[in-house]
């Protein structure tokens, strides 16, 4: 039997079989490592591309609506644009809240031609007061621009076209100056009720039966 004593002062002077095997293993492992790293990097780059496209979506959607597609939008990759679908539940829930607090559906669905302005005015109070309550309870609203309506505003280069809509004589380049026609509204907080599994959002107002 050979006895292997570890002697750290020894140095190999030539490539023997063992050292050739060792070197071979190292090279093999290194190759595997490089391949793995490359595959991870590639998959991440692909993932990023996808998310960039998703973020850009809403802007693409709005442009489509305003410009009514006079020029085709040149996207670098002709991947299909997936438009976000609004969930019907949230919309139905809001209708339900407006109906509950403000009798909104009742008011809109009623034929008002036969009534006098005074009668409609009385009902409008119910609707106005209730809508006010429903909106204030569930949303925090703030104007987009704090300036007085009718005053001059300046829009610097690179202003957010989603928050400010240009109208009228749109020529030249930013910065633009113009008159603030509408100060805009933005929702800064939203507190919609959470729904239980048994909630049927399509029932905007249940029928009421008094016993």
């Amino acid at each position: 039997m050979n006895t292997y004593a570890i002697d750290l002062s020894l140095k190999p002077t030539t490539f023997d079989l063992w050292h050739v095997c060792l070197a071979g293993t190292v090279v093999l492992l290194l190759l595997i490592l490089i391949v793995l790293l490359l595959s991870i990097v590639i998959s991440q780059i692909r993932g990023k591309k996808k998310s960039v496209i998703q973020q850009a979506e809403p802007i693409v959607k709005i442009v489509e609506k305003i410009v009514e597609v006079e020029k085709p939008v040149h996207a670098p990759i002709p991947e299909p644009v997936i438009l976000k679908e609004a969930t019907p539940d949230a919309a139905l829930q809001l209708l339900g809240l407006l109906q509950k607090e403000a009798r909104f559906i009742d008011f809109v669905k009623e034929d008002i031609t036969g009534f006098s302005d005074a009668d409609i005015g009385v009902a409008a109070r119910v609707v106005h007061e209730g809508c006010n309550k429903a909106i204030n309870d569930h949303f925090t609203l703030a104007p987009v621009r704090s300036e007085q309506e009718g005053s001059k505003v300046a829009l610097p280069e690179g202003f957010d076209a989603a928050t400010v809509r240009l109208t009228g004589n749109i020529v030249g380049t930013a910065p633009f100056t113009g008159t603030l026609v509408h100060k805009g509204w933005q929702v800064t907080g939203i507190r919609l009720p959470k729904l239980t599994s048994g909630y049927n959002a399509a029932i905007v107002a249940p029928a009421e039966v008094e016993l």
Binding site: D106, F115, V122, K194, T196, S197, Y199, N200
Partner: protein, 640 residues
Amino acid sequence: MSELPYHSQPETNQKDTAVANENVAVKSPQNGTRFSVGIDLGTTHCVLSYADLNHIDDEEFSPQVMAIPQLTSPGSVEEKQQLPSFIYQAHEAELAEDSTSLPWTARPDHLVGEIARNLGSKTPIRLVASAKSWLCHTGVDCKAPILPAEAPDEVVRVSPFQATTAYLQHLCDAWQSLHPDAPLDQQDVVITVPASFDPAARELTVEAARAVGLDQAILLEEPQAALYSWIEKSHGDWRKHAEVGDIILVVDIGGGTTDLSLIAVTQQEGNLELNRVAVGDHILLGGDNMDLALAYTVKAKLEKEGKRLEPWQLQALTHSCRDAKEKIFNNLGLDNVPLVVASRGSSLIGGTLRTDLTREEVNRVLVEGFMPKVAVSDRPISRARTGLRTAGLPYAQDAGITRHLAAFLTKQQGATDELTDINLPEHASFLHPSAVLFNGGVLKADALADRLMEVLNSWLSAEQAPEARLLTGADLDLAVARGAAYYGYVRKGKGVRIKGGTAASYYVGIESAMPAVPGMAPEIQALCIAPFGMEEGTQQELRDDEFGLVIGEPVRFRFFASNTRREDKVGTRLDYWTNDELYELDEIEITLPEDGRRPGEVVPVHLSAAVTEVGTLELQAVSQKDNGRWKIEFDVRAGE
């Protein structure tokens, strides 16, 4: 995950009690106490406020109010700062399956909160309301299922105690779902009760807290909590606003009750001290009465025009009156607010009822009706109750809050006699407050607050006393819960503590030893067992008065309290008293268990009274032979 550091709880003012009863001893400090939690268990709303105790050394105290998830209508859950104290006992066919789940349970035991109030406004027979007022209503068993009182037989009833437990359970569960890493039973919990709560009602509140696992919860009187909140909000400045000799009147007008307390500012070794010297009676009169009064005024106006109102219309009218009243009070330029009551059907335009509420009406009904200009010698009018009132709360008969205040201040004229720092003029006919602190949503209306100050100051100037000043800065809706959370911090030895003790002296009724006179009830004497202002953690024994109790046979005592007789010591016997001085509470009962004794044996005992650290009064019978102790129950009607 944040760490839960260990906090030792140095108990200040803790006096040794020799009582070997587990309820008297304060719970030992627990690991994991991270928050000081204050729970305002209101008659109409509950609020939970909490503050992180980790930063206790920064002298910075910032309580937050928990947003309480609750059902608002079938199927929808919202977070609100207040939990309406209502339970709705729904019919099994009334609600769709899975439409009553909460974030922590798919099927809650009771419908609590906004949903209960909403559903109950259309079906009042199934609505449990004002459970708290029932707790201190003598003459009913608070553990018997009696609510809703006016419901038909098939509606499942709950007891006032169960209702209180349900509100606490909801708050507990909400806390647990929002702070899963800090169980509520390991936090410092303070629950507020009206200062006018009697010992039985306090005991029931503590019992309800224990039923939901809050064994460590302690009690605090609401007006004191309001004052703590004011102190906390002033960030140390309160010493500039209060001076030695001040008497602070705390007026708390909530949704259903009015609570009055007096707190005197004294001095001890150069430091300001606060002493709660008197509390008023439990007055069932509040903001809800005001809304109802307005609705009836408008109803009368409509009936004059020939329009009849249905009950549901009155309900809706009460609602719109509440909103209209707030508009008129908040907007001085507004003299007239239109009121509309929409029809119930889907046709909105034809069937809507329109009228208006004028500033003149609001002033006449609310300001003149509830805060009339009266002399300090005026008293609340009480007329004989008509008919039998078997079920129902003893609502205040006189809506004049100023008259109740006049009665309170006159009755408590001697409240500060023992305090050398307080000097009342010789000719004073009532106790002169020098500062006023408001609490409760009603007093947010300047018109009502100003009128109350005006009336009080007119009484003061009539006796050449300086006008009382208003202490400002408190949040009238949330102050009690915030103050309760702050009290947890004060108990750690930070900041000033209000000295209080029992708000009344307590007596048991004993038949006098005299020959029986046919047709006459035996004369009764009142034996003082707990004096006024007995502090938490102290105990008094009544060794000289011996009673023979028969083993196995329940013995009852008549039980009295007085919130004016400050000079009575333990053992004082009263032969005569006026109705003003002493009022009778529910009877108390003791049954000596048979363990180790022969039934029928007579054991000589004396009585002992202790005020626990929790803030409840505890009465015991102590055997003269072997020092055995038995608890005397307040809630004797339970189990009958």
